[in-house]
């Protein structure tokens, strides 16, 4: 079924059946593979994208529900917050295998957009749904705090 999505600031025509998770439309149809498949049940956060600026798990978001919404993937990040987050991730070399990091960054940008100076408790609470099997968590926490500093500067 033909649908039109607003993705990363552009209009994209896609052919997808209703009920298809947005994740697979993004990855298989639009071939934007920065958004990852990790669990398929919204339990790991690797598939996190923004819908109208809010982080959602794209594996449990159905394509027919997002027509008209602004979808942003890791490839489309382009804001002061995302620049600060990616700079902080670079400064602290947060990544190891890296597979979860798109989702971590999408969530971190979501957090700092709504709360520019989160406490450690607020970071831990907000990021709780983003699993990292390499356990890069303490660098993630530190990078979010560093990004907050960069944003303030």
């Amino acid at each position: 079924m033909a649908m039109t999505l607003k993705l990363n600031g552009a209009t994209r025509d896609v052919d997808a059946e209703p009920g298809t998770p947005l994740l697979w439309v993004i990855r298989d149809e639009l071939k934007l593979t920065g958004t990852k498949f990790g669990c398929g049940v919204a339990s790991c956060g690797a598939c996190t994208v923004h819908l109208d600026g809010e982080p959602v798990r794209s594996c449990q978001t159905y394509v027919e529900d997002v027509e008209g919404a602004e979808i942003t993937t890791i490839e489309g990040l382009n804001s002061d917050v995302s620049t600060a987050v990616q700079q902080a991730w670079t400064e602290l070399d947060v990544v190891q295998c890296g597979y979860c990091q798109s989702g971590q960054i999408m969530s971190a940008v979501g957090l700092l957009t709504e709360n520019a100076q989160p406490t450690v408790e607020e970071i831990d609470s907000y990021m709780d749904g983003n699993a990292c099997r390499c356990a890069t968590y303490q660098r993630i926490r530190a990078a979010i705090q560093r990004a907050s500093q960069i944003m303030e500067a």
Binding site: K36, F37, C44, T90, Q101, M127
Partner: protein
């Protein structure tokens, strides 16, 4: 005097040439070089005529850092800025890219990437540097010793030029047999904490390509319907309900009857089609036991005479000295099956090549294994099978099965097609969690006798579990006189001076498909040794750190190094100075040649909820090539060890795995550990592993901290054995 000192400047002035300098090794290990005409297919470093230096990385990158580490070695010895050195993953060639510690086998594991590459990649970089210097010396008619190469610039004797200028002439010079390696005092990159990971940029903007991200033209997605019980075989299937799913192509039984391959045009269609498939399974040869039965079998084994006497000591004599001791500790331990669950589910793609062969695209941990397996299954000569190694989204051991399990599955799926379309095999998280290859379950029973002065007088240690190595190509390497070293490592070779130690091992019959899991045998042996030592210290009325140090005074290097990290962790973590409401536990262990101590500080207690507030780690891994990568590996290894000890286990009911995805195999989350502080012991020893050694001490250190609140845990995971976490 040459004035073109920048690469850009040189390029402007130079005629474009196709010169390339390759430096690598011959199959006998000697340094060799070639130019573009002489083409060396598989070098360690290549230098293009524009001055671009590319390191060829023989180890796959799953986050543990070889892309940065091996590039560091090349850049260091060549004298070029590491930022300017590109890297590529090596193709499959066991003659050139073999792991020097594995024999004629290319692969990554056992925390050996840096240990086996350290001299080899330095020599390649140094040879390239010497050849460039010699070429410059020839051109300037000066002696090579008058010249140096730093930051990509060759200078000396009044001359100065970018190395790019001499690539063509250097490629005509024979490689030096023994290039001069830098003295450690000359290192600029090795040991420099400011060196950044080479793989960070593509991993923070979505451009890094993992095997899961590969999308070849005309590819088919293949999902496999696996038996719900281990070892079940396909008796038949009905795909009528799948036929209405848009994008479904067909379902075909795999030739080995281990599953049904579901082919589709895209992943979502394949997922739906597999769901719609009805498979009739033959369970006659399938596993029928539950994990409770396996557990009972292991516990019975450690209470009986062991199959193998590992230490060769007199068991009766050791038992007698324990029986007559003033204090006897007698503890039984149990460790469950564990899944690896790397973040990227298993996947790989096979496509036909123009020469009638195939190309495997894979986050490939052990290229030689799948290379041989694909050659056999697809009936192709070895040279017609190629491997393109991509980033791997974690492994923890899972991508390195002796059977090349998932690559074989992809090959079988490819084999039942007409081979015209690339086949991308995709595993889901459910396939991963239920798909076998677990850390084997193990039981230990330990009796320790102490005299009235609190001195250990006897240590009777029985271990039972399923051998990882027996029946694999690694058997000759790891099994001696029937004893699989990976079942007992860390016990008979403990650096502690333990008089009268008996170690016995019993292999249990095949229960499940088992596999090394980050730090292998040390996952359970370190827990047992380090909690028993803690209990012995308590029984002796001694401080746990002082008690350990007293057992490490024999003057052996191992003892000195392990005492060094123990003391450092104790000092940096404020041992004995926990804040009010906090409790500490410590553990230290040697694995993969490295020494790691960890001090865990918790708040709360087992009944009301434990919170891990802080972990202080000290590591001695020889020369610290990339200190920040080492710290990251310690942080990750600690998290991996603690998360599983806290709450993970794989259980079976009548041969079927009870867990299926992260909700019931809950990963460590960000709030589970407060802070981790890593300290590296300065060392001039050869580099040793860092991927695994951070894991073993973490769980016993936590257990010792919890024990100090009154609850001693001897079976894992902790949440199923009386400990709650906040």
């Amino acid at each position: 005097m040459t004035l073109n000192t920048s690469r850009r400047g040189f390029l402007k002035g130079a005629a474009a040439t196709a010169a390339v300098l390759y430096v690598g090794a011959r199959p006998d290990g000697a340094i060799a070089a070639a130019n573009a005409e002489g083409a060396m297919l598989n070098p360690f470093v290549k230098i293009s005529s524009d001055g671009t230096v590319t390191a060829i990385i023989k180890h796959f990158e799953k986050g543990q850092g070889p892309a940065t580490g091996l590039t560091t070695l090349i850049a260091e010895e060549m004298g070029v800025p590491i930022e300017d050195v590109a890297y590529e993953f090596a193709p499959s060639d066991a003659g050139i890219y073999n792991n020097l510690l594995f024999g004629p086998f290319q692969g990554t594991g056992g925390s050996t990437a840096m240990a086996n590459s350290f001299m080899q990649y330095r020599q390649a970089g140094a040879a390239a540097r010497d050849m460039l210097l010699q070429a410059a010396a020839n051109a300037w008619n000066v002696e090579m010793v008058e010249l140096s190469l730093e930051d990509g610039i060759i200078k000396g004797a009044g001359h100065e030029a970018h190395l790019a200028e001499f690539v063509g002439t250097a490629a005509q010079i024979a490689a030096p047999a023994e290039p001069r390696l830098k003295d450690p005092s000359e290192f600029k990159l090795i040991g420099n904490e400011a060196v950044r990971r080479k793989d960070t940029p593509p991993k923070i903007n979505g451009t890094a390509t993992y095997a899961m991200d590969l999308h070849l033209d005309n590819q088919m997605i293949a999902l496999i319907a696996h038996s719900p019980r281990m070892g079940g075989l396909v008796a038949g299937f009905d795909d009528s309900d799948a036929k209405g799913i848009k994008g479904f192509i067909r379902a075909t039984e795999l030739p080995n009857k281990a599953g049904v391959a579901v082919f589709a045009e895209n992943t979502w269609a394949a997922l739906q089609a597999r769901e719609a498939l009805v498979v009739d399974w033959d369970f006659s040869a399938a596993e029928a036991r539950s994990s409770d039965e396996i557990r009972d079998q292991l516990l019975a084994a450690v209470n009986a005479d062991p199959e193998y006497n590992v230490t060769g000591t007199d068991q009766a004599q050791v038992a007698a000295s324990i029986d007559s001791a003033a204090t006897v500790l007698d503890e039984t331990f149990y460790f469950p099956l564990l899944a690896h669950a790397p973040m990227e589910p298993l996947t790989c793609t096979i496509e036909a090549t123009a020469d009638g062969g195939v190309l495997l695209h894979d986050g490939c941990q052990m290229p030689t294994g799948p290379h041989m397996a694909l050659s056999q299954i697809l009936q192709l000569p070895m040279e017609k099978v190629q491997i393109n190694t991509l980033f791997a989204g974690g492994s923890f051991g899972r991508r390195a099965t002796p059977t090349a399990d998932y690559q074989v599955e992809a090959a079988l799926a490819f084999a039942v097609t007409d081979r015209t379309r690339p086949v991308k095999l995709v595993w889901t998280r459910e396939d991963d969690i239920t798909g076998g290859y677990y850390r084997p379950a193990f039981a230990h029973r330990v009796r320790v006798g102490l005299d009235e002065a609190g001195t250990i007088v006897g240590w009777d240690h029985r271990i039972a579990g399923q051998s990882i190595m027996k029946g694999t190509p690694f058997e000759d390497f790891a099994v001696h006189d029937g004893v699989d070293h990976s079942s007992i490592e860390g016990v008979p070779d403990s650096p502690y001076a333990i008089p009268g130690q008996f170690v016995g091992l019993t292999d249990v019959a095949k229960a499940t498909t088992v596999l090394w899991w980050r730090s292998v045998g040390h996952t359970h042996t370190a827990y047992v040794m380090e909690t028993m030592i803690d209990m012995a210290a308590k029984a002796a009325g001694r401080d746990p750190v002082a008690f350990r140090l007293a057992l490490l005074k024999g003057g052996e290097t191992d003892q000195a190094r392990i005492a060094g990290v123990l003391q450092l962790a104790a000092d940096k973590g404020g041992w004995g100075k926990a804040a009010d409401g906090r409790t500490q536990g410590i553990a230290v262990h040697k694995s993969f040649g490295s020494y790691v101590a960890e001090l865990v500080e918790i708040s709360g207690n087992a009944h009301d909820g434990v919170q891990i507030e802080k972990v202080t780690c000290a590591v001695d891994c020889g020369i610290a090539v990339n200190p920040d990568v080492i710290k990251a590996q310690m942080e990750g290894g600690i998290g991996y060890g603690l998360g599983h000890a806290m709450r993970n286990e794989i259980t079976l009911t009548e041969g079927a795995v009870d867990q299926s995805n992260f909700p019931d195999y809950e990963p460590l989350r960000i709030g589970d550990i407060g802070a981790i502080d890593v300290h590296i012991v300065p060392s001039a020893e050869s580099p040793t592993g860092v991927g695994e050694p951070g894991t073993p001490p973490s769980a016993p250190a936590l257990a010792n901290a919890i024990a100090a609140t009154g609850q001693r845990v001897t079976s894992l995971p902790m949440v199923n054995n009386g400990v709650s976490f906040s």
